[in-house]
């Protein structure tokens, strides 16, 4: 049986020479989707939403379930090179974050303006959910993969309550029930793979003990000297799926605490995953994010180079570092967010939608903190004070000098230890409330 010609999947292409016909593979079907994808239950016409528990679309009214075309691609998810064209596009198009988009609800005809970066929106008037599809210029850098939510929204509250109660610094009056209303949102992230190869050299210090004869004391004495020797080496490191946040609107301190996403769970992008959730487009462009990623990679590689030296005493360190096999992905990762009010101040809390890790701001009862600081510093201060008094007393009553030493030495030690712990507590308290 003869093979058909051209083979299936090939279409005519331009030919620059008469007499030669060229067929090229048909381009992958553009994942062109309607401007708005409506998720309506085929049974009761109610709105459906992505169910974290079921892993598909679920109608909350009649229970209808529609599994998504779930394609777990994990770390095999397609990666893209830093082509000249990509970088040019990335430097011009800033994703969906640049322009505001207007959404017209197909259900109640209400108009809502989406803030920059929001891909999905639930109509605030009728609860209709719609997924907004990006338009052509933005297609070049749109997310191709995402990590679906595995933590249900209902699970966020107990996680947050446990977290709030985990610190003695929070005020008693803080009602744990105030932390509610978590909103699921897909955040933009860039993942980077690369291989770094670095050649380094440095002077490395080695401690050597030397003996010499002291003619004055007529004895042998020893002293330690640092001998500097040049060392060099080579490091090759592979970075796999280094995550860099594609949003500048959220605290990177908090995001870094939640960044333990497992990219083995990456799935191909399907609008169903976003149904019922908000999604944000990137506002940190690829080039900027790649700078951040490179900075982390080169610091890591430099540390690895320094770790290769035979001792930790290093000077005149230099290295040449080459990046190769660089690739990137634009992905969406799940996060729950909420903002709760305490004494008129807003506090932000985030929960990793995949692992349940939590980070956020918590109000601090500074009275408790200062009380603890006082309790820590007081014993040392008291003993030191008594020691000083004993010294003064020793002027007229010499035996008191012995007691002064007994009081002053541990007093100062306790004061130093207490001061360090107090400093740490104050710093932690400041970080809790001020991120």
């Amino acid at each position: 049986m003869t093979q058909p010609f051209p083979p299936p999947g090939f279409i005519p292409a331009a030919s620059a020479i008469p007499g030669i016909v060229v067929y090229a593979p048909a381009p992958e079907e553009a994942e062109a989707q309607p401007e708005i994808v409506e998720f309506k239950c085929p049974q009761c016409q109610a709105m459906t939403a992505y169910s974290v528990a079921d892993g598909g679309l679920r109608c909350t009214y009649c229970g209808y379930y529609e599994p998504p075309a779930r394609t777990i691609v994990g770390k095999g998810a397609q990666e893209f090179e830093f082509t000249v064209e990509t970088m040019a596009v990335a430097s011009q198009a800033h994703g969906w974050g640049e322009t505001r988009q207007e959404l017209q609800c197909q259900n109640c005809n209400a108009r809502a303006t989406l803030p920059p970066g929001r891909l999905t929106h639930t109509c605030p008037f009728c609860g209709s959910n719609r997924v907004l599809q990006q338009d052509a210029p933005q297609d070049a850098l749109r997310p191709r993969f995402l990590i679906p939510f595995t933590i249900e929204a209902d699970a966020c509250r107990p996680i947050a309550e446990k977290w709030l109660g985990s610190s003695w610094m929070t005020p008693k009056s803080l009602k744990q029930s105030t932390v509610a209303g978590f909103t699921g949102i897909y955040l933009p992230y860039w993942t980077f793979d690369t291989v770094t190869q670095a050649d380094w050299k440095a002077e490395v210090g080695h401690q050597e003990t030397r003996r010499h004869y002291n003619s004055a004391t007529k004895s042998w004495e020893s002293h330690t000297v640092t001998v500097w020797r040049w060392e060099s080496g080579r490091i090759r490191k592979f970075f796999d799926d280094l995550l860099v946040a594609g949003t500048a609107r959220l605290s990177h301190v908090l995001l870094n605490q939640l960044q333990n996403y497992d990219t083995h769970a990456l799935v191909a992008y399907e609008p169903q995953y976003l149904a019922g959730f908000l999604a944000q487009a990137y506002d940190v462009p690829l080039e900027k994010a790649w700078e951040v990623g490179r900075e982390a990679m080169r610091a890591d590689t430099r540390d690895a180079c320094r770790g290769q030296a035979s001792t930790s005493q290093i000077r005149n360190f230099s290295m040449a570092l080459d990046f190769s096999e660089e690739s990137w992905r634009y992905v969406l990762v799940p996060i729950y967010m909420t903002v709760f009010q305490y004494e008129g101040q807003p506090y932000q809390v985030m929960i990793n939608g995949q692992t349940g890790a939590i980070a956020g701001q918590r109000p601090v009862d500074w009275n408790k903190v200062w009380l603890a600081v006082g309790a820590l510093v007081a014993p040392g201060a008291l003993l030191s004070l008594l020691g000083l008094l004993a010294i003064v007393l020793g002027v007229v009553l010499p035996p008191a000098l012995g007691a002064a030493a007994v009081l002053l030495v541990p007093g100062i030690i306790l004061l130093i230890i207490g001061g360090i712990i107090a400093f740490t507590i104050v710093g932690k308290a400041r970080r809790m409330s001020d991120v």
């Binding site: 010609f5 051209p6 083979p7 090939f10 292409a13 331009a14 030919s15 620059a16 020479i17 007499g19 030669i20 016909v21 060229v22 067929y23 090229a24 593979p25 090179e81 830093f82 082509t83 000249v84 064209e85 970088m87 490179r294 080169r298 430099r302 000077r315 005149n316 360190f317 230099s318 290295m319 040449a320 570092l321 080459d322 990046f323 190769s324 660089e326």
Partner: protein, 359 residues
């Protein structure tokens, strides 16, 4: 002696009894020395002529554009700079033995209809980074661009006419091409009877049927390159096709060269070939170890005489003390001269270790 017609002049077939090369030779030159091995005189072929692959005259000739003057200059350069050159390796001898010669080559024209498939490659730029760090100045970043190839599959159909696809008419064609370079085919002329007035013609030892095994891959290579151009690609690989050939036209083309030789130490002829179109010279340049040894012996003899004179001066020095110093100095000089005898041998040996030069 076999007489042939169609060549426009009276020619015969002659064979070298030493290397078995067969030639078409003007009847009056039938006893020339073989311009291939220069080891024997040609002998006219009288029997079995009908079994030879191809005896018809050629259609095309590439003329000698490297004139005799150019050839002489190249010979001069070839013979120059050889330490202890064999006595026979001199420009006069080489020039005196120059024999113009034509080598045969097939050109095939034909129509091809085929389906094909290949992977074609497009160049694209990738941005990468190189970084330098030092404790004093921190990080310095340099952006670099690399060119990579994106490979994509293509299939197609082809209906093309190809001209002048080269196919060897000699078993030694590839070796001769490596030695003399590729001939340009843009200056060919129709064969004329006068072509043989001053040159011999090597007879093909491969008929078109035998040469087709080399012509077919040449057709494929040409078609592959055209398919690359048709797809506007930068590269092509794994080109496969299913061709159907029609209308094949075979043309015999003669390629010009000059052949000469010199005799080495053992009296064996060493051929020197000159491309009759480009003037490129191919030949083995060898120093004469015999001459080097002879020179070394002369030096040794001089050293011996000096040594004996020094010895005599030394003996005389017993009676006349100042001569003792002269004897000592003479002895040292004799030793130095004697050691210098190794130089000619080492020089010739080193020269002969060099790979074959193409000038």
């Amino acid at each position: 002696m076999s007489e042939l017609t169609g060549w426009g002049t009276e020619v015969v077939i002659a064979v070298c009894p030493h290397c078995d090369w067969r030639y078409i030779v003007p009847a009056e030159k039938a006893t020339l020395r073989c311009p291939h091995c220069f080891s024997a005189d040609l002998e006219p072929v009288t029997e079995g002529v009908e079994q030879l692959p191809y005896l018809r005259p050629p259609e095309l000739v590439t003329p000698f554009t490297a004139t005799k003057t150019v050839a002489d200059e190249r010979i001069e350069k070839f013979a120059d700079g050889i330490p202890f050159a064999p006595r026979d390796l001199n420009p006069e001898a080489l020039r005196g033995r120059v024999q113009p010669l034509y080598l045969p080559m097939w050109l095939v024209d034909g129509d091809v209809a085929a389906t094909w498939e290949a992977e074609i490659g497009f160049n694209y730029g990738v941005v990468s980074h190189q970084e330098r760090y030092s404790d004093g100045s921190g990080w310095a970043t340099q952006q670099v661009q690399e060119t990579r190839i994106r490979w994509e599959p293509r299939v197609g159909q082809l209906e093309r006419h190809y001209d002048n696809i080269v196919a060897p008419a000699l078993e030694q064609h590839v070796a001769m091409e490596q030695a003399l370079g590729v001939y340009a085919l843009d200056n060919t002329q129709p064969y004329a009877a006068g072509t043989l007035e001053r040159a011999l013609v090597r007879l093909p030892d491969r008929a078109p049927q035998a040469a087709w095994t080399d012509a077919a891959p040449a057709f494929q290579a040409t078609a592959g390159e055209e398919c690359r151009q048709a797809a506007s690609a930068d590269h092509i690989r794994q080109f496969r096709w299913s061709p159907a050939y029609t209308g094949q036209q075979w043309t015999l083309l003669l390629l010009p060269l000059y052949a000469t030789y010199y005799l080495d130490d053992e009296g064996q002829p060493r051929p020197v070939l000159i491309n009759g179109q480009s003037g490129r010279v191919y030949g083995v340049r060898r120093a004469s170890m015999q001459r080097a040894q002879h020179t070394a012996l002369i030096i040794v003899a001089i050293a011996t005489v000096l040594f004996l004179l020094s010895l005599a001066a030394g003996v005389a020095g017993l009676a006349v003390p100042p001569l003792l110093a002269a004897g000592g100095i003479g002895g040292v000089i004799a030793l130095c001269v004697g050691l210098g005898a190794i130089i000619p041998i080492v020089r010739a040996w080193q020269f002969n270790r060099r790979p074959v030069e193409i000038l």
